[in-house]
Each structure stands twice: as C-alpha cells, then as structure tokens.
C-alpha cells in the first residue's frame, strides 16, 4: 500500500494527489515554512494508480480554509483534501477551482493599471477555464494560461 510508506497522522489534513513535484509549492503556499506548531510529512514522486506518480502532504493539527483550498486548486487541480480525526478519514473532497481570484496574483500585462506604481489595487481575475487552467484579468482582460499562473504564483511565495 502506497499510503504506508509515510506516517499516518492522528489528526489534521492529508493533501493527496498533488501533481509530482508540486508538494513543495503547496507547502510554501500554506505558509507552513513559518508555522512552527505543525509537523509536516511530505512525499514526493510516489506511485499512484490515478496519476502514475504524485506528491502527498500530511499536516498534523492543521485544517484548511476555503481560500487555501482554492489556492491549492490552482497549483494542484487534481488534489484531494482528506480530513483525519483519530487516525480515520472523516471527510474527503476534491479541490475546486474558485471562480474568482483576488489578491493572489499580479497581472502580467505591464500596461495593466493594476501594475502601475502605487495604485491601491490588487490583482483580480476571473477563472475562465479549468483544464487547462485559464484566468482573465478583470481590469485589462489579459488571459493567463496554466504555466503562467504557476510561474506568477511561485514567484510570489
């Protein structure tokens, strides 16, 4: 059993079916680097029936809010979130792409008003496609595709 390769957790969250090599990004995205109170187990490139290979992140005593789940969907659209209580699976759900993103990314169009110096606005995007992921800036209407989203995202964290 693939699950046995890494420790089970007593309670917390297991993020499964993360695309291979993306677990570290999810780790940073959740701010786990600076969170001294949780212990985290990360598995990278483990075999998976559904995905061939995948990453897994197990986080003790930590639960995700909807914004965090939405952010994970951007980087790992196939991920499942498993809530563990007392070593047993209490709830399991696929991440869902949000319809709207606010403040997470900055537009990549250098002539977009949101990238102007000191304007008090954050990037706002509408998700217009999920596979492949495509988002559109609410201001300048520039469309950003998957790889770009990831690049912009990782640059931030």
């Amino acid at each position: 059993m693939e699950q046995m390769k890494i420790n089970r957790i007593r309670q917390g969250t297991v993020i499964d079916h993360i695309g291979a090599g993306k677990a570290l990004a999810v780790f940073h995205l959740l701010g786990l680097k600076n969170d001294q109170t949780t212990s985290v187990t990360m598995a990278i490139r483990v075999p998976s029936r559904r995905m061939r290979i995948k990453d897994i992140l197990k986080i003790e005593n930590r639960y995700l809010d909807p914004t965090e789940t939405a952010m994970i969907a951007l980087i790992a659209p196939q991920a499942t979130i498993n809530i563990i209580t007392n070593y047993t699976l209490e709830k399991k759900e696929r991440v869902k792409l949000p319809t709207h993103l606010e403040g997470l990314l900055r537009c990549e169009n250098p002539n977009c008003i949101t990238t102007a110096l000191r304007e008090p606005v954050q990037g706002k995007f509408t998700v217009i496609g999920d596979s492949p992921l495509r988002i559109q800036c609410d201001y300048c209407l520039t469309i950003i595709a998957t790889e770009e989203v990831e690049r912009l995202f990782l640059r931030k964290i």
Binding site: N109, N111, C112, I113, A116, P120, V121, D138, C140, L141
Partner: protein, 301 residues
C-alpha cells in the same frame, strides 16, 4: 444615480440598441441644444491627449446645457507629480457629477469606477476598450445599412494594437454580421478577442489581402502605426498595401469608415464618394455621447 460605461463586453444587443435609440433622439435636437443637464458638471480626465474624443464629449455636454472641467494631458497636473489614479478620481469625484476618463493603461476606467462615487464613462484605456467609439461606429453603420444582420464588415489595418477594433469586433458579433479581418501577419487580431468572437459564434475570415475584402458592405479602415515595425522601409511597404483609393475600389461602393485621425491609409480622392462617411461618423460621436451623458446622469430622455 445613472449608469456609467466601462466596457460593452457584458452588454446585450438590446442594451446597446437602447443607447443607440436614445442617441437618435439626441441627434434630433443636437443643433438647437437643450438644457436638461443644466447645472451639471462633467469632469474630463484625459491622461493622454485625444483631440476628437475630448472635443466631442465637451460638445455633447455643452449641447445638453451642462459644463465641463478637466485636463487634456497629465503634464502639469497632480498626476504629473505622481498622484495615483485612485486619488485623482476620489478628489475629482468631490467636484463634478460625472467622470469621463481617457488613460494610456488598460483597465484604468474600471479602476476609476471602483474609486469614484460618480458614474464613469470610459473614453479609451490603453489598447483595451473604447466603448463610446464602438457605439458611434455602430450608430453610423446602422444609420446607413438599417439592419446589420448578415452584412459583411471588413476591419482593416492594425487589428492587434488598435483599441478601436478590439472594442468594435465583439460588439459587431452581437449584431449577426460576418467579419472579414484584414491585416498584415504581424498585426493580426489578438487571441483574446478571437476567443470572444468564437464565443458569439460569429462567421469570420482572416486575410492579409485587402482585395479579398472589397466586396464587403463596410470597409472599416484603421491606421497602421510606424512604431509597430522594425524599420521604415518595412512599414512603408506594409502600410502601402492597405491603402484605399478610387482605383482600388473601382465601381464598388462599400461604406467606408475610419475612426480618424487618418494619415494616408485612405486617399483624398475617396473623400468625395457618398459612401465615404468618416467625417459624418466622427460627428455621430456627439449624439452618442449626449445619450451616454444623459444616461449616466440619470436624466431620463
């Protein structure tokens, strides 16, 4: 409070037609003038110069009996000193009843609308939207062709950077036209816009050859700018091949439109044709903008 206009992208054909029919009402008493906007002040914030758009907005407000304040370039203003657009907009909102904004960056009008307590009309932002131009273009086409359903409209020139066609093409798609997109390879329409056109299911054909578009009902010509080309010789060659003159047109009489200013993409010998309507088109900017002001100020009409 009335309704501003940032983009036509989320407008239905019906909403657009309502504005156009209000514009037709405005056209009737355009010359005699009215005073329905008496006591109202329009603030024209032009962060980049645009003679035609600014003068036509000013004319529209004056014809309605209102007054205009504003600036026509950011030089010498607080903006030149580094003030943010958000701050300028919040300040001017304290003075006027309506904001009209022209800005070199895409999305500026949207941002202005978020920070303003007043209705905002977008008079062009970056290479993004230019909805008032689109409305006057539609007004002119419908004025001459009555129904646009099934008509062939050729958009010619710089379809990549020109904001006019970015705004116009998707709006035309709502009216059931067939589009011919005529441009040099390097100035083809952006993918974003094509995605939008596909969404509307519009019939379209792309070509680099202007002669393939001469039988269209409308030739909408736009300027090809020198800056888009690496060298002057290349520019001259490309621009020359999209030049419209009497000889090229032969006996054909498509409606010939241009957002102006033109340089030499339409020869002067075309001006006398009854179907060369570009000056009339510019003139239609007044009733259309009158309609938008009336609507934005919630004056009925």
């Amino acid at each position: 409070m009335g309704k501003g206009l940032i983009t036509l992208r989320d407008y239905s054909r019906k909403e657009i037609e309502e504005i156009l029919s209000l514009a037709r009402v405005m056209a009737r008493d355009q010359r005699t003038g009215t005073d329905i906007a008496k006591g109202k002040i329009l603030a024209a914030l032009f962060f980049e110069p645009s003679t035609r758009t600014r003068l036509s907005f000013e004319t529209a407000m004056l014809r309605l009996g209102g007054k205009v304040i504003g600036f026509s370039s950011s030089e010498g203003t607080s903006v030149g000193k580094g003030e943010t657009l958000a701050d300028t907009v919040r300040t001017v909102s304290q003075y006027a009843d309506l904001l009209v904004i022209r800005h070199p960056r895409e999305g500026a009008a949207q941002l202005a609308a978020e920070f303003s307590s007043l209705p905002v009309i977008n008079a062009g932002d970056g290479s993004g939207n230019h909805p008032t131009q689109t409305l006057l273009d539609l007004y002119t086409m419908i004025d001459h062709l009555k129904d646009l359903e099934g008509k062939e409209i050729a958009l010619v020139g710089d379809l990549r950077y020109g904001r006019t066609t970015h705004s116009l093409a998707p709006a035309l798609a709502l009216f059931g036209v067939k589009l011919i997109l005529v441009s040099p390879q390097e100035l083809r329409i952006k993918n974003e816009i094509k995605v939008e056109l596909d969404k509307h299911g519009v019939k379209l054909r792309e070509t680099e050859d202007i002669t393939e578009a001469l039988d269209a009902d409308v030739l909408y010509i736009t300027r090809i700018q020198k800056e888009r080309f690496p060298d002057a010789a290349e520019y001259a060659k490309v621009a020359g091949s999209y030049r419209i003159d009497r000889q090229l047109l032969g006996k054909r009489t498509p409606l010939i439109m241009h957002p102006l200013p033109r340089v030499d993409e339409i020869a002067a010998d075309v001006d006398d044709l009854v179907t060369a309507v570009y000056f009339e088109q510019a003139g239609n900017g007044v009733p259309v903008r009158m309609a938008l002001i009336v609507r934005a100020l919630g004056l009925g009409g």
